[in-house]
């Protein structure tokens, strides 16, 4: 029974386990998602750098082409004196200027390239100035003067370093490009790895959660089945108990009646043939049979108290206590006790079942105070929270509080039946009826100083 209860209420409730598992999975998934996000930004970043390098390379090549165009246009004019070539040269120069400026801007991240762009600029300016001088000479002094200026100023000496600078920048960007392509590739790989990890983690978490849930559901289902089986067993054993007490009431009483009746018949018909001892034996037989009859009756009453349905209504406890008192005192042979009934608050309960409570408690009080001079019985009650506490108090023999646990058990008695007769079922009946009402029963006493028994019932609703 306790094992079943343990299984039904595990220390770790399943709700907590599910919450913890889901929280854990959520945290892992958040972490992996953050990692994946980081990989994506890395990847985008490296892709941007690759693209940037391509743009820089394009700009460098464009600068090279523009400078060649400008030179070619200048030379063309020097040779032909065609004014169209001047326009072409000016356009190429202006484009080259803006191109170099753009190159300066887009390589701002790279100090080496920045210095190169500066050198390139000054080299370009030198070339452009020389070219302007050549053009001027051609315009004012004719072809020969221009030709002389070109050969004297060693145009090629200016042009070669410019080309070298362009080549150096281009080489640098190519190296950068290859590095950046590598970085791009590795961040691509990281991205794929991160996404793969994310997928695996999600699949694992969800899969494990599913397995755990399914297992838990299976366990719960088997527990529910077990509970159903136990309930059925309990119902069966209750039915068996009912039929057992039925058999007891029929089958045990019949032979007992035979013993008592035939002993009586023996006494009636053959008393004169027996001596005093013989007649005493007959009385012992009859006493025993009668006591056993009462035991069976009490036991059956006790078993009925456990099975009878409870019909709880608002009850008048004073009427119940007085009816029980009357019933008990009719059968009482000793001196009538002094009675004191206080005001009794109303409660909820089954009047027929509670009658047994009052009868047993009052009967005990009358019985155990019967040997006291000036027996006195007091009945009272008070409202305490949602319940009413009633008590029955006497000034009789009392009991030792050490044995208080035994009081409410079936067939447990604290006095011999020679001293005070009884079956030991009365307080067990009281306990059973009260606990079926959701109340509590307890006793307080001191030997020879009387006993006080309390019981609680749910308070009647105030209309």
């Amino acid at each position: 029974m306790t094992a079943l209860a343990d299984k039904l209420m595990p220390r770790w409730r399943i709700e907590d386990a599910i919450t913890a598992a889901f929280l854990g999975a959520l945290i892992i998934m958040c972490m992996v998602t953050a990692l994946a996000w980081y990989s994506v930004t890395q990847f985008l970043n490296s892709s941007r750098w690759v693209e940037h390098t391509h743009i820089v390379l394009g700009t460098i090549e464009h600068a090279n082409a523009l400078s060649e165009e400008a030179l070619a246009a200048g030379q063309n004019y020097a040779i032909t004196g065609n004014p169209a070539s001047i326009g072409e040269r000016d356009r190429a120069i202006s484009e080259l200027r803006s191109n170099l400026q753009k190159l300066g801007e887009i390589t701002a991240d790279n100090p080496l390239q920045q210095t190169r762009v500066a050198i390139l600029n000054s080299q370009a300016i030198a070339c452009i100035e020389l070219m302007s001088a050549v053009v001027k000479a051609r315009q004012t002094d004719g072809f020969e003067a221009a030709k002389k200026l070109v050969s004297e100023s060693r145009l090629s000496a200016l042009e070669i370093p410019f080309r070298d600078s362009i080549a150096a920048m281009s080489d640098e960007e190519h190296v950068l490009l290859s590095h950046r392509l590598l970085a791009d590739e590795s961040s691509q790989r990281r991205l794929v790895a991160a996404c793969g990890t994310l997928l695996v983690v999600v699949v694992l978490t969800v899969g494990m959660g599913l397995i755990r849930l399914r297992r838990e559901l299976r366990v719960r289902q088997s527990l529910a089945e077990e509970l159903g089986r136990k309930t059925l067993e309990l119902e069966t054993s209750n039915k068996e108990l009912a039929s057992f007490s039925y058999s007891v009431s029929h089958d045990l009483r019949s032979p007992l009646r035979a013993i008592d009746s035939f002993a009586l018949m023996l006494e009636e018909d053959y008393a004169q043939k027996l001596d005093g001892e013989g007649r005493r034996y007959i009385r012992v037989v009859r006493d025993g049979a009668q006591r056993m009859g009462r035991l069976i009756d009490d036991l059956l009453a006790f078993s009925r108290m456990g099975r009878a349905p409870i019909n709880a209504v608002s009850i008048d406890p004073r009427a119940g206590a007085e009816r029980a008192l009357k019933e008990v005192l009719v059968a009482h042979t000793g001196a009538p006790p002094e009675l004191l009934i206080h005001r009794l608050p109303a409660a909820r309960g089954d009047a027929a079942l509670l009658h047994h409570v009052w009868v047993n408690l009052i009967d005990n009080a009358v019985k155990y105070s019967s040997k006291t001079t000036g027996p006195r019985i007091e009945i009272g009650g008070s409202v305490q929270g949602s319940e009413v506490v009633y008590f029955v108090k006497d000034n009789g023999a009392g009991f030792d509080m050490r044995y208080v646990d035994k009081l409410f058990r079936v067939f447990q008695r604290l006095h011999g039946s020679e001293e005070f007769p009884g079956s030991g079922v009365g307080l067990a009946i009281v306990q059973r009826v009260i606990s079926r009402h959701g109340g509590r029963v307890w006793g307080q006493s001191e030997p020879d100083h009387g006993a006080k028994f309390f019981f609680t019932l749910p308070r009647a609703e105030i209309a």
Binding site: A258, M265, G293, R294
Partner: protein, 146 residues
């Protein structure tokens, strides 16, 4: 056993000791009406319907039937149901005399139209007293339909 034609009390009781006690109690109370003791419900019905070993009996009704509840073959409840379902026996006074104080037995018996339900006490002096009362009441005080 008295002559089956003059039987006034039919006692259906499976326990011989209980039957003997009942008969003694009636005799002690000076109720000398002829009594027939049958051991189970089947015999009781055979007597009441004049069949089986009572086939030769003329159909005179007894004045009182004392029925135990728990009997072999046919129990007291079934006998009671049969009696109340037979027009000729419908008004026959039937008293259940049993050990059972089960509320369900009491309710069932009354639902079937029993005239009295007596729980046999264990204590012999009380049994004698109660059976004497019962005999007086049903055989002397009470006036059944003729």
């Amino acid at each position: 056993m008295s002559d089956v034609e003059t039987v006034e009390i039919l006692l259906a009781e499976d326990s011989p000791t209980d039957a003997e006690v009942t008969q003694r109690a009636l005799k002690k109370a000076n109720i000398a009406n002829p009594l027939l003791w049958v051991k189970d419900g089947e015999e009781a019905l055979e007597f009441l319907h004049s069949r089986g070993r009572f086939a030769s009996r003329a159909c005179a009704r007894p004045r009182l039937v004392l029925l135990d509840l728990k009997m072999p073959k046919v129990d007291g409840i079934e006998v009671l149901r049969d009696i109340r379902g037979t027009p000729a026996l419908q008004t026959l006074p039937v008293v259940i005399l049993t050990s059972s104080s089960e509320e369900s037995d009491v309710v069932r018996s009354y639902a079937l139209g029993v005239n009295s339900y007596i729980v046999k006490p264990v204590e012999s002096s009380k049994i004698f007293e109660e059976i004497a009362c019962l005999g007086y009441y049903w055989l002397i005080m009470n006036r059944p339909p003729s």
